[in-house]
């Protein structure tokens, strides 16, 4: 009996070897291959994947990309990097990027590894193979575009089309000043996840707040995977803070928000990249306990607003195509990355990386979340408060079951509400 099993196992192995994946399908015109190494099992992975597919289908339907006269369609190649999973080495993600470049012959890399650590690690790889890459999701660390600025000629192929930690701090602080005038808030308590971009942002926020005269009543850093936040919330409550600034993208943030609601902490939870709180399903999941949570979804378009005529067009197209509204960080920025890429290719008239880099630096497109322009030195999208001048972020608040955009003023559809137990 054992011998038979052995043969059966061998056949199984051979079978797998034979279906070595090779790209056989030859479209009419040679397609431009766009590689997307994403952690598809996570929100920040499958959201962008859907946005890329939507954008590519729209472009191909409109006839594809005019590369020096010939019309060539885009072709999307998504590979699961699993880099948001704990316990998975980054070499898995880098191997996925290399498979896209070497095996699938990708001309461009978009979306990029989702975890900051993996994205930073992929930079030298991209410069080695001279592949233009546009980061659209997950990576918030300011170190990314700082590196591009520092070693321009080595990392010039790396672009980032969505906001990073420093912009988020700026946007959030604008809201704090507004709250200060309206409700006289002056106390701030910061809770951050023990991840480098969150800790970095917490430090910056702490410095900016104290400089502007705010009283920072405490900073609490929780390790990834912590399941009890009672202590931090108690400290916040006892330090009579009015705002709790949360920098956390781990799923356990839902526990934090539920505990905040049950402990009736008289402070406004104001978070950035709160993955749990960005999804439309968050309301039903916490059966209402997520009321009044504010979260920064980095770019407009991930929540309903009229930043530009294109925002709602994208919002509805996404909802129609996938049956659910854009779910959070990465949706609108991925969609725009494809269009920005098409625009650059058509201007450059070829797929040569160096020409494309020059064209991308000249990008000026009125996109889903404002006018998209790249800083020529650091290849980071230029942020702004008004959609006319640059890329606009958006902060939404959960108000009785719906995500209402409250910032920036130019595209706001509502104002910040306070929980009942806070109103004196």
């Amino acid at each position: 009996m054992i011998v038979k099993n052995m043969k059966m196992l061998m056949i199984l192995l051979l079978g797998i070897f034979l279906i070595l994946p090779g790209n056989t399908a030859l479209a009419a015109e040679k397609p431009i291959v766009v590689g997307a190494p994403l952690s598809t099992a996570f929100l920040y992975g499958w959201g962008p994947e859907r946005a890329f597919t939507l954008a590519i289908e729209e472009i191909n339907a409109a006839g594809g990309v005019n590369v020096g006269g010939t019309k060539r369609p885009f072709k999307l190649e998504v590979i699961d990097t699993r880099d948001l999973e704990p316990g998975v080495p980054v070499s898995e993600a880098l191997l996925a990027v290399e498979k896209l470049i070497l095996d699938k012959k990708a001309d461009f890399i978009v979306g990029g590894p989702v975890r900051s650590e993996a994205a930073l690690a992929a930079m030298p790889l991209l410069s080695k193979y001279k592949k233009v890459s546009i980061l659209t999701t997950g990576v918030l660390t300011p170190k990314y575009h700082a590196l591009v600025a520092k070693e321009y000629d080595k990392y010039k192929y790396c672009f980032r089309i969505h906001g990073e930690a420093k912009n988020l701090v700026g946007e959030m602080f604008a809201n704090f000043t507004e709250l200060k005038e309206k409700h006289g808030f002056n106390n701030l308590f910061i809770i951050a996840q023990d991840v480098s971009h969150a800790r970095g942002a917490a430090k910056v926020m702490n410095a900016v707040a104290t400089k502007k005269g705010w009283n920072v009543t405490g900073v609490e850093i929780y390790p990834t995977g912590a399941t009890d936040f009672s202590m931090g919330l108690l400290k916040a409550k006892k330090s009579k803070t009015q705002i709790i600034n949360i920098w956390m993208d781990m799923p356990e943030s839902a526990i934090l928000l539920k505990q905040w609601y049950e402990m009736k902490i008289p402070a406004l939870p104001f978070g950035s990249t709160l993955a749990a709180a960005e999804q439309p399903g968050f309301w039903k999941a916490t059966d209402g306990k997520g009321e009044y949570t504010l979260c920064n979804v980095v770019n407009a378009g991930n929540a309903p607003s009229e930043a530009t005529p294109w925002t709602m067009k994208f919002y509805n197209a996404y909802a129609k195509r996938w049956g659910v509204a854009p779910e959070g960080l990465g949706g609108s920025s991925s969609y725009m990355a494809i269009y920005v890429l098409r625009d650059a290719i058509e201007r450059a008239g070829s797929l040569d990386s160096d020409k494309i880099v020059v064209e991308l630096e000249k990008t000026d497109v009125m996109g889903v979340y404002g006018r998209l322009k790249f800083d020529p030195k650091s290849h980071q999208v230029i942020p702004a408060k008004d959609p006319e001048t640059g890329a606009v972020g958006s902060i939404l608040q959960w108000q009785d079951g719906k995500r209402v955009v409250v910032y920036p003023k130019s595209i706001a559809k509502g104002s910040i509400q306070l929980p009942p137990w806070m109103k004196k």
């Binding site: 099992a41 996570f42 929100l43 499958w46 999973e85 704990p86 316990g87 023990d194 609490e220 850093i221 929780y222 390790p223 995977g225 912590a226 399941t227 009890d228 009672s230 202590m231 931090g232 108690l234 400290k235 006892k238 799923p251 356990e252 839902a254 526990i255 539920k258 505990q259 049950e262 402990m263 009736k264 993955a275 749990a276 999804q279 399903g281 968050f282 039903k284 999941a285 916490t286 059966d287 779910e327």
Partner: protein, 307 residues
């Protein structure tokens, strides 16, 4: 006892007194750890099988309850019982078709159970249980104030159910036939076999009950947050931590070790800083293993675990 607990550290907190808080949330944290670890301790205690699929069973039972409630619209209480039953059956099946063939080979057991855990977790993720919108409703809404510390009912319920589980487990293992057989197997497998206890059947029962305990832990603790596949890995590490500190094989040790680690974590959060929380748990394991490998209450087999 209270004063012994209040160390005299340089407290960054300027608040006069949070011992009540430490006490309440320390207990809740410890009961949660105990619920994580009991299933693992029972399976290892009886059949010396390190069940590395424990975390996967914990998460699966969460998703099964969720599907019963949302897709089949069953009553919440019935779906909990059904979920525990189904998880117990899964645990038993794992033993019957996989572990029974490789019992005794230490490395293969660890590898096999880890592979099953991996397959279940990644299978769930592939099956669409992704994202953060899967949650279980709490049994009771609302929260109260105890001695100035606001605690929600669900957490108090956790403590209640935890205590009940420990009590039932104690009664079960001391007064029912199967319970006694399980304890016999735990102490000495060969002697138990000589008395006519079928070791495979008992191991099967242990695996079944262990999985049910994991499911019970999940159903009680998951409503506090949301059901996420990553929880499987964290739960496994914490369960191993508690079982080792308490002494592999003795589930009473696991309960007491859960309290030790639970309070240690809360104290580090208060006095050292929250981000050292995980470091403390891991440090507890390593130090216990080096000083007293068989744990605080484990069977002290001198030569067996130290040279």
């Amino acid at each position: 006892m209270l004063d012994a607990l209040r160390l005299q550290p340089v407290s960054r907190l300027s608040f006069p007194d949070n011992t009540m808080h430490i006490l309440i949330y320390g207990t809740i944290n410890s009961v949660a750890l105990a619920l994580f670890a009991l299933g693992f301790a029972m399976v290892y205690g009886v059949s010396r099988l390190p069940n590395f699929a424990h975390g996967a069973l914990y998460v699966t039972s969460g998703f099964i309850t969720w599907t019963f409630i949302n897709t089949l619209e069953l009553n919440y209480f019935i779906s909990i019982l059904l979920a525990m039953l189904v998880t117990g059956i899964i645990g038993a099946l794992i033993y019957q078709f996989v572990l029974i063939r490789i019992r005794g080979m230490e490395i293969s057991e660890i590898m096999a159970t880890y592979a099953i855990g991996l397959a279940i977790l990644e299978g769930l993720r592939w099956g669409g249980f992704r994202g953060l919108t899967y949650t279980l409703p709490a049994f009771i809404e609302g929260s109260t104030e105890i001695a100035g510390v606001s605690v929600d009912y669900q957490r108090l319920l956790v403590v209640g159910i935890g205590a009940a589980v420990v009590a039932v487990l104690w009664l079960f293992t001391h007064y029912t036939r199967i319970g006694l057989a399980l304890r016999g197997m735990a102490q000495d497998e060969r002697a138990a076999m000589m008395l006519g206890i079928d070791s495979d059947l008992m191991a099967l029962a242990a695996m079944g009950f262990g999985s049910m305990l994991a499911a019970l832990g999940a159903v009680v603790l998951l409503p506090l947050g949301n059901i996420v596949v990553e929880a499987g890995y964290n739960v496994l590490i914490l369960a191993i931590a508690v079982c080792i500190v308490g002494g592999l094989g003795s589930w009473i040790g696991a309960v007491l070790a859960a309290f030790i680690i639970g309070f240690a974590q809360i104290l580090t959060v208060v006095y050292l800083g929250a981000h050292y929380q995980m470091v403390v748990a891991l440090l507890a394991i390593i130090i216990t293993l080096i000083l007293r490998p068989s744990g605080l209450f484990g069977l002290q087999k001198e030569l067996e675990e130290r040279v």
